[in-house]
Amino acid sequence: MTTQDKSKNNLLDPYASSRETTEGTVFSVTGGDWDSLVSEIGESKEERIIVNMGPQHPSTHGVLRLVLELEGETVTEVRTGIGYLHTGIEKNIEFRNWTQAVTFATRMDYLSPIFNETAYCLAVEKLLGITNDIPERASVIRVLMMELNRISSHMVALGTGALELGAMAPMFFAFRDREIVLDTFEEITGLRMNMAYVRPGGVSQDLPAGMNIKLREVVKSLRKNFNDNAQLLIGNTIWMKRTEGIGYLDLAGCTALGITGPVLRSAGLPWDLRKMQPYCGYENYEFDVITADTADVYGRFLVRMAELEQSLRIIEQAIDKLDKLEGQPVMVADKKIAWPAQLALGADGLGNSLDHIREIMGTSMESLIHHFKLVTEGFRVPAGQVYASVESPRGELAAHVVSDGGTRPYRVHFREPSFNNLQSTSAMSEGGMVADIIGAVASIDPVMGGVDR
């Protein structure tokens, strides 16, 4: 390429100018410059401008790109660009065995890992036909973990949502409470996020000793803490001016666009899979489905705030159940599926229990073969397809899992609520002010890890 060509090329692509170095061509990829945009607008006679918002904009909830067409401060068109966080999780899962897939699924929507795991595991269990064989203690622990996770996820939604609209303090309170939940997760699973705790057949390990007492304290302090944000925001004039009547999407709009979760409930329909199509024994818990009738950002905020208390109610009932189920198994009895079979906490961390190691290495050749085959190859799942859904903090999270009878999933597709709900950005924002897009997107609460997978 001649120098002439290169300078021409640079003119063609102002965002990726190149220069030669001894190591080869170096490209500098940059975004647009605000000053040059403003001067361009000053020169043109047209009112209409097109602005790229994101993918690195701090108010877009991660790497979301919005292409806005503005007339003055009014938004005439919003186009949404996604895919910046696409990691091929669904493809990767096809190359791992049924148990390992949990480790991938948990990383999709990184704010609600337990829901990802549970949706996938419920689907695998349905394929295996062992849905009714899951021990009750495992189901109760799943419910407990899901509701704790709902709190931590809603806390991020509330905290970052408020932060994006200019309110700093709610974020501090929200992240303080989220930290309490994450510490609890760490104590139970060993990890704060991406735990791969829920496994096909049950959960990977039982709660540590004395956890019930700690959980009750957690519930107590969370209940007290929730008041801080409630007092800060509910009825706050500035907050209401930024949220009331903003991002309006009524029931008809929600239905047409397949919207579920708090956005749908803010339009007045009490649709909650935990009540309507119970799984993991949700029919045995007392809780209310929260709705609002305003179908706006404020309504969604109120729904999420009230759902926190409902989650605490479920957690309390779950702890009571766990008290009664002390010592019961947390993994399906079928040793052909329960993997890894025997875990215990040793001096060097969590691993196979010493008793189990002694048995497979010292006494039983068959046990060793069993262990080896199960861990390296995994179990087979009868051919067929199923669809299993759970109510995640963002709506219906479902796993469509196809098996060809082998030890690896043939196809796993996740119906991600963030992905689906993000489609409503245009419907919520067009015709409004540019500043209100932030509120509308925050009220959808999209998690880009889940959107792009």
């Binding site: 349905k126 036909g129 067929g384 489609q423």
Partner: protein, 211 residues
């Protein structure tokens, strides 16, 4: 997928020394399920037959498996059936579309699966449409369920199924100029170098430090 197999780890003959013979491997059924289907599925089938006289022609198979109803539909009839399912049988929500690639099924390699939800009746069913790899066209249902817009774009992106009538069928997760459709079974996992703005980043396995 069609052959019957037993044993957990694919052991043939007496290779199974570990007692792993318990799980019988069942092949996916290829025929239709006989009535009664059980639950509300009979009601759904009756209602659809009444509302849609061409039922027997449009729907090639009705499968009930693991408590879920799947209607296999000829692709030319998909939109008609979808419209009736939405308006008459009140399946007001479509939870997206998921693709499946079966390279060994000649003439029906690409499959699109639509999970439907009726919130009014609290019911779920599933539609399945198959098409050939040589003619990867399936009519779009975006005019029936607007929320399927992005889902169809994703399935196009991942499987190359072209949804005819979609308002703007472009890639959604992969870059616009990407070659191939990653979720197809003949597409490798990794090992692909990435080109962006003229610069090429080799796949990890081809980087100098790994060779």
């Amino acid at each position: 997928m069609s052959e019957e197999q037993t044993g957990m780890f694919g052991a043939i003959g007496t290779g199974d020394t570990s007692g792993y013979g318990g799980l019988v491997r069942t092949a996916a059924a290829t025929g239709s399920t006989e009535r009664p289907f059980g639950g509300y599925f009979d009601q759904v089938a009756d209602d659809l037959e009444r509302a849609y006289p061409d039922f027997s022609d449009a729907i090639t198979r009705v499968v009930v498996d693991r408590g879920e109803l799947t209607l296999h539909i000829k692709k030319s009839r998909l939109v008609e059936v979808a419209q009736i399912l939405r308006d008459k049988l009140l399946f007001e929500m479509c939870m997206g579309v998921s693709g499946i690639h079966y390279p060994e099924r000649t003439g029906a390699e690409l499959v699109a699966v639509y999970p439907l939800l009726s919130m009014t009746k609290n019911q779920r069913i599933r539609l399945e449409v198959a098409t050939s790899d040589l003619d990867p066209h399936i009519p779009s249902v975006v005019n029936v369920w607007a929320g399927n817009n992005w889902h169809e774009r994703e399935t196009f992106d991942m499987f190359g199924i072209i949804f005819d009538g979609h308002p703007g069928l472009t890639r959604i997760l992969m870059p616009d100029d990407w070659d191939g459709h990653p979720q197809r079974k003949d597409y490798p996992l990794g090992g692909i170098s990435v080109e962006y703005k003229g610069a090429t980043t080799p796949a990890p396995s081809n980087r100098r430090s790994y060779q």
